[in-house]
Amino acid sequence: MLVSEIDVISPLDLDECLTILSREGIQHRLLAGGTDAVVRMKDGKWRPNVWINVKGLNELRYIVKKDGAIHIGPLTTHSDIIRSQLLQTQADVLVEAAREVGATQMQNMGTIGGNIGTASPAGDTIPALFVLGAVLEIRSCNNKRLVPIEEFFIGPGKTVLRQNEMITNIIIQPQEKNEIGIFQKLGPRKAQSISIVNVAVNLIMGENNRQCLGGKIAFGAVAPTIIRAKKCESMLKIAPITDDMIENISKVAWKEVMPITDVRASASYRRDMASALLHRGLYRLMRRWESYES
């Protein structure tokens, strides 16, 4: 398929979009901000017959609180996330992750649905969504299902999404007053770089000094998909998260991740950096928590 032969159709609403997705016999792919899709089209990797341009579907661009949960439309851009008061106060880790995506232009163009849809093991918003317990609403013309984000990815670029389906809503649990999160990323440079390793943490804090009642830790770019570090998580509740404890938890992270060597970094470097990022993240998180408390 030559680029000049690929059509672009722009459905006017979600129903029309789902109808087009259900058409058989044509090879189509959704096109949102295009920051992954157009790059891959130029590289010759993604050459569908038709792009289904959803960028204009404003009904899928929202951040709202509903029945105690936060709903984020898949066409919400990274810039929308960064600007959202609601997310700043009740999903801080997602805002921090969105700030780390590319630079201004990519944050204005790129969408959260596209970040999930690309299913890169290094996608920056995904670990944040893991620790916020995100559930994806997936729709086709005549079906709707809910998939926890941890069950959505199968491997690099591979998801459980069928050809006639799309993500129509992202539901996260808002943070309570005693919850606090952080996102840490290592890239080749500060702006515009794909993560060599990233980590998202969300902790539920107790009343006593540095007492933690539980939490979630998710790493990116250290396995074929984003992974939860459950061994590290289980250590959070054992004892107050003192600087010594942070040291111990990050040593466990070194063992728990399973990175590979690729063009961006070697496996052993990734392992060291996963451990270091979690160390730094927990350290900063505790400092922040203490400054809130005092």
Binding site: I6, V8, G34, V39, G56, A103
Partner: protein
């Protein structure tokens, strides 16, 4: 080929092209607006930056078929020699350009940034705002100074306006 209608620099335009052509190529080839440049073609360098609905984006990653109805401003729309914007004047007075290839993109990004603030930005704010624009010549110091200067002039102009 498909007809596509949008607004560029305030004027309604219509072009006929294949819908997967990039907006950057449409601007340069079909509309002869050649300030926006192609360098990396993949969103990394910002030399193709334009404003869409007042937000800065990379036109090398937008397809013509997505541009229907868009309100686009290119560097030409920010200002031309006869009616330079304060950002452009500051780039000249600070000597923030050498080969000039990155300059239109930087001017567009700087304009978007200045539209969003009402204070003199810190160096780190400027670096964050312009992180998506690469320059291989200047070493950035003069570019950052130009944005500071433009921000000062912008505030002065606003001050003058409020006195009237």
């Amino acid at each position: 080929m498909k007809p596509i209608r949008f607004t560029v620099n305030g004027s309604p335009r219509e072009v006929n092209c294949h819908p997967s052509k990039t907006l950057l190529d449409v601007l340069r080839e079909d509309l002869n607006l050649t300030a926006s440049k192609e360098c990396c073609g993949k969103g990394e360098c910002g030399s193709c930056s334009i404003l869409v609905d007042k937000e800065v984006i990379c036109s090398c990653l937008v397809l013509a078929g997505q541009a229907e109805g868009m309100d686009i401003t290119t560097c030409e729309g920010v200002g031309l020699t006869a009616n330079m914007d304060i950002v452009q004047e500051a780039f000249v007075s600070e000597g923030a350009t050498q080969c000039g290839y990155c300059t239109p993109g930087l001017i567009v990004s700087s304009r978007a940034f200045l539209n969003s603030i009402e204070h003199i930005p810190s160096v780190s704010e400027i670096k964050t705002a312009l992180g998506g624009n690469l320059c291989r010549c200047t070493g950035y110091a003069k570019i950052i100074r130009a944005v500071e200067t433009a921000a000062k002039h912008q505030l002065e102009n606003k001050g003058k306006l409020s006195l009237r």
